[in-house]
């Protein structure tokens, strides 16, 4: 039972353009959503998060949008840079558990 899904295994964009990574979830009890970035041979690093009471959170070049009615969130990176090339995981949690449910990941390649 995949509660968090990232349906696009990979995405390729040109440097300077916008990257949009998508994530869908099935459990309406999730109340906190996060994006992690992972480089090869390293552990995931936290990127940005959003609470279910908000529909947008912005941090520099990164913006996360949450559409609760559609159970969908997206990560926008603008402008995209070659250093953004990595695997991006969305994750969700509920309550005070701290337990994260991860999607399968999307590999982003930003071409110079």
């Amino acid at each position: 039972d995949q509660q968090v899904k990232q349906n696009s295994p990979s995405l390729s964009v040109q440097e300077g353009r916008i990257s949009i990574l998508n994530c869908d979830y099935t459990n309406s009890m999730f109340d906190y959503f996060l994006w992690y970035k992972k480089y090869p041979a390293e552990g995931p690093t936290f990127l940005i998060s959003i609470s279910s009471i908000k529909d947008k959170n912005e941090d520099g070049r990164f913006t996360v949008f949450l559409n609760k009615s559609a159970k969908h969130l997206s990560l926008h990176i603008v402008p995209s840079q070659p250093g953004d090339s990595a695997v991006y995981f969305c994750a969700a949690s509920f309550g005070n558990t701290g337990k994260l449910i991860f999607g399968q990941g999307t590999t982003l390649q930003v071409k110079p």
Partner: protein, 113 residues
């Protein structure tokens, strides 16, 4: 500030052998997590500690996996006996508290032959 440390970084064993992984969390972090990441999938939580107590081990295959955090600091995860399907990256993460940001170590890549 030192990050989450894990060792070994790589391990190759044959099926039915045993293996142990070690994790030292960020100093002061009360919550420690072990995740299993199979190739092509996202990390899956195996066990979560708050200090030296288990908060969630619902997805830990307890017939072969065990974990401990005796002094509430570092932790070990053991597999005995290993199966082919245990080949994965084992990630340790820590956080200041249950709802705080989780910081991940580099992981241990396990190959079971």
């Amino acid at each position: 500030e030192a990050g989450v440390a894990q060792s070994p970084r790589y391990k190759i064993i044959e099926k039915r052998q045993s293996v142990a992984f070690w994790c030292n969390p960020i100093s002061g972090h009360a919550t420690l997590y072990w995740y299993q990441q199979i190739l092509g999938q996202g990390p899956k939580l195996l066990i979560q500690f708050q200090n030296n107590g288990v908060v969630d081990d619902s997805q830990l295959p307890k017939d072969r996996f065990s974990a401990e955090r005796l002094k509430g600091v570092d932790s070990t995860l053991k597999i005995q006996p290993a199966k082919l399907e245990d080949s994965a990256v084992y990630l340790c993460a820590s956080s200041f508290g249950l709802q705080e940001t989780q910081y991940f170590g580099p992981g241990t890549r396990l190959l079971v032959l």
